[in-house]
């Protein structure tokens, strides 16, 4: 089976966006039955399912553009970690609830700007997906915002945890805006999303009385298939059923 490294730009782009959504959906799904309240279980599962829907569309499209007969399941379940194109931000472990909300805030704020811009793409499939997904991620962004405000501007304990959550995920935010080396002309240059993203996130952090972290290092390489040790463990759990029972349905 050929790796993602040989994909042409449009397929690789759809795969990158789809992998971001797929991996974060899997992470958020880990919260089910573990969230602070059953209502939050439902909210996080809803967000995960929105992301899974986006991933299915994007992976199916990537497979179609590739033209090698790989469907969404093949791409989700039969690639190894070096062939995944997601940013490292979405694969790192959930941490506590504040870490999860910090990540959801910065990622959904990024996705909101991305899909807003992608609605004007010259590629009808990408533009169509973006038009549907932008409403979903607007809600994800709002959900994360509500929690960051409440935890950041809450008790001494919740503020400390919120700040620690932001500090933990911040080194991974820069990667969202790295230029895609093989950006197709119908894609969105992520660097152009940064001002609007920073405007939104900074306003939330300020209102939440949190400090914007200034990390001494930054992650690199997710788009090139370089991942943290955590992705392999996530994939083992996500893929084992399909690999043990190929084509299993229920």
């Amino acid at each position: 089976m050929t790796g993602a490294r040989t994909l042409e730009p449009l397929a690789a782009y759809a795969l990158a966006l789809g992998d971001d959504a797929l991996i974060l959906a899997q992470r958020l799904g880990e919260w089910v039955a573990r969230a602070p309240q059953i209502e939050e279980d439902v909210a996080l599962a809803n967000i995960a399912l929105d992301l899974l829907g986006q991933a299915r569309t994007l992976l199916a499209y990537a497979g179609q553009v590739e033209g090698a007969g790989r469907g969404e399941d093949d791409l989700a379940y039969l690639r190894d970690d070096r062939d995944f194109r997601n940013v490292q931000l979405v694969e790192i472990p959930n941490g506590d609830f504040a870490v999860t909300m910090a990540r959801l805030l910065v990622f959904s704020a990024y996705q909101y700007e991305l899909y807003t811009a992608l609605q004007d793409s010259g590629d009808p499939a990408l533009a169509g997906l973006a038009g549907k997904a932008v409403k979903e991620v607007a809600y994800h962004r709002d959900h994360a915002t509500q929690w960051v405000l409440r935890l950041g501007d809450g008790t001494e304990e919740s503020h400390a945890r919120m700040q620690a959550g932001l500090d933990q995920i911040w080194p991974y935010t820069e990667e969202l805006f790295d230029p895609a080396s093989d950006l197709p002309d119908v894609g969105v240059d992520p660097a152009t999303l940064r001002p609007a993203w920073a405007g939104y996130v900074t306003a939330v952090l300020t209102e939440a009385t949190c400090r914007q972290p200034e990390p001494a290092w930054r992650s690199r390489g997710g788009r090139d298939g370089l991942h943290t040790e955590h992705l392999g463990h996530l994939l083992a759990e996500m893929q084992h059923l399909h690999r043990s029972h190929p084509g299993a349905t229920w």
Partner: protein, 103 residues
């Protein structure tokens, strides 16, 4: 243990909210259930997730459960029984014209 700690000492729970959903324009909001949330804004968002996931509504109200004043089961007899023998309150004394259908 006080009322704010129903799960035990030191374990605080979020307050309860009653949820009302309007299925579509022109209909009244209907009570659909209740949920926990730390405040009104989160209650509205939780209600959206718990009760309108399948396109059930176009409008949601949330009301603190503590704000509901309910009739007491003990007062059921005095509240409701007197209506039982007032047959004249029911529109059963009208002659139905010949040919009127769908009544």
């Amino acid at each position: 243990m006080n009322n704010n700690e129903p799960n035990g000492p030191g374990v605080r729970s979020w307050p309860l909210w009653e949820v009302f959903v309007r299925a579509r324009r022109g209909l009244a909001h209907q009570h659909v259930g209740s949920l926990h949330a730390p405040d009104a804004a989160m209650a509205l968002r939780n209600a959206r997730d718990v009760y309108t996931r399948r396109g059930e509504g176009v409008s949601i109200w949330v009301v603190p459960s503590a704000a509901i004043v309910a009739s007491s089961p003990d007062e059921k007899d005095s509240f409701f029984d007197p209506a039982a023998d007032k047959v004249y309150r029911h529109p059963t004394f009208y002659d139905v014209p010949e040919g009127a259908k769908h009544l």
